[in-house]
Symmetry: C2
Subunit: 129 residues, 2 copies
DNA sequence: CCCTTTTGTTTACATCTGTAATCAAATTAT
DNA sequence: ATAATTTGATTACAGATGTAAACAAAAGGG
């Protein structure tokens, strides 16, 4: 029963983005940052943090008057989980189907094409090794 | 104000999957299909259909006693929209970031690698043309 | 030490989602 | 024609989500 099975709502993503950039942050710092980025009131941010603490997405360390928060899940970790969900639901689990569908509407920049080639090449090297 | 700005919940996706496979379908056919696939009661399916009709995802044609439904949005259309949302939220809008992140955990099958190469090659041809 | 500000915690509430039960009109069978 | 079944529509209700006000304890200023 580890805490891997956490999923985040869009609003919770915004909170995590802050904490993934820098952590720990005090409640004050977070309310300021999110008032700025999302226009949220203090209450909103703190309510979100409470819920996220309850479900194990963040840890709140209350020491010395002020409470500070740090993430308990890595960005990669949950990005992965959400990606799997999404791919399964929308593209039947097929990454190449996603790519082909996406590129039919939005042509990729040269930079992205190059990056994708690099990824594929590297993967083949690993496979052959 | 066309109906493009529709997003589907996971449950609603299941309904659409049926209608994208074959359409139109009567309420009866849909309740049967979704009882089978998802274990839903008749009420559940019809409630979903009602909501989806209200938000313009499907059209219900009531003619000759029985009501039948057909999709008003294409699968590609909303797959695209959801993909953009997802990429923006999780991968900062970058497709290559998604691919690289994904492949670090789940190595792709040879088939998928080949498909991806094909997609890239085709895209370059289009670009050069 | 009192008054003000900051903080942490509780409570609130509308909307959305999943999941149905119920009810009433229409259809079908006997 | 009447009873049984099917069907469309309405109502229900709990849990998730977005968004915040209220309240109370703590900290800081004078």
């Amino acid at each position: 029963m580890d805490g891997k099975n956490i999923s985040l709502t869009p609003a919770e993503w915004s909170v995590m983005e802050c904490l993934w950039e820098r952590s720990p942050m005090t409640g004050r710092e977070l309310t300021d940052a999110l008032r700025e980025r999302c226009g949220w009131s203090r209450s909103t941010t703190l309510t979100l943090l409470g819920r996220m603490e309850a479900k194990g997405a963040v840890a709140g360390d209350m020491s010395g008057g002020k409470k500070s928060f740090r993430p308990l899940v890595g960005r990669d970790e949950i990005a992965m989980k959400e990606t799997e969900d999404f791919l399964g639901r929308v593209y039947n689990g097929s990454l190449s189907l996603l790519v082909s569908s996406f590129t039919q509407k939005q042509p990729l920049s040269k930079k992205e094409i190059d990056e994708l080639y690099d990824i594929l090449k590297k993967m083949e090297e690993d496979r052959d090794a």
